[in-house]
Symmetry: C2
Subunit: 189 residues, 2 copies
Amino acid sequence: MTATNELFRLKGYTATTLAEISAAAEAPVGSIYHFFPGGKAELAEAVVLETGEAYRELFVLFVAESSSPGEAVEAFFSGAAETLESSGFLDPCPIGGVGREVANVDERLRRAVGRVFETWVQTLAAGVGVLGVPADRAASVARSVIALLEGGFVLARVERNGDVLRHAGREARGMIERTAAAATVPGSC
Amino acid sequence: MTATNELFRLKGYTATTLAEISAAAEAPVGSIYHFFPGGKAELAEAVVLETGEAYRELFVLFVAESSSPGEAVEAFFSGAAETLESSGFLDPCPIGGVGREVANVDERLRRAVGRVFETWVQTLAAGVGVLGVPADRAASVARSVIALLEGGFVLARVERNGDVLRHAGREARGMIERTAAAATVPGSC
DNA sequence: GTCTATACCGAGATAGAC
DNA sequence: GTCTATCTCGGTATAGAC
């Protein structure tokens, strides 16, 4: 499944073939259908859910090592930039890539990606909420931060420049801290 | 070429076939190769460049009708949300979609997408620059705004919710105005 | 230059021996 | 449950009549 993940990051969902996956995983094609009777789409769903949870847990680690959600987010963006550069600008997030490809084509996969994003939103929003931001506002900012991250992947990869992601990280942090400031001291600035 | 554009927005680059394009454009397959000897990739490059310039000009219109770059950006995001909803959540931007799919696979296409993004960055940065923001800082914020837009497309489509884009628009506006404020009154806040 | 027919290949999926 | 051989379909691309 790690093999599938990497292939998705390299070429996306549609362009990745079962033959390639079979070769990279050193497992025959038949085995794929043994574990995933639904074929490619079912395999992709499993990859999306698994990777989504792994990334969520990774972010939680960043939060634990930071003194504020804004700081954690900025560090997370920087980490993604490192990953991007050291991988030769592979897509850091197969989930968003798959999501964009299948959003109007495969309802089941679309929902799987949507569920993953929602867990990310909740996790990040919980962190922001600690700063005294109301839940709905926190969720809204969280969504924008995740959108900025996903879009940052596109620009950084296409321009082959990891700094795009680092700058985006600073902006993401600013978004969070500004929201917190507005929530706690309503009339400031 | 409009047909190709719509198909890319629906299914992405790889999943769109020449047969579909041929059918939608009501033109035989041979004609495609007559105008684009390089086949699918060359056609895609033309679509990317053309659509990219069209969107850039559209944004310039928004700027002309707004009283500030931040307002123009927010309105642009809202317009994208309308488009998204009324199209059944087709990808509003085939450019970013193609970019994400081919970034590590087709160098020529990747560069085409990169050039388009760069024209967008320059156009938006010029608007932000008018507010007194230094050029490099303006370009950096512009990139983040575009990243937020592209990522907003992913989340909004996957969650089937145009409001994601509207909220992102408010954040984008905030990013711009905060940058301008920091640049003009260095010690404020 | 427009269009049709087709070559050729590789896709996802499956059947069935082991 | 593992693996191989293969089915069938649909992909890109091209050749060649009009």
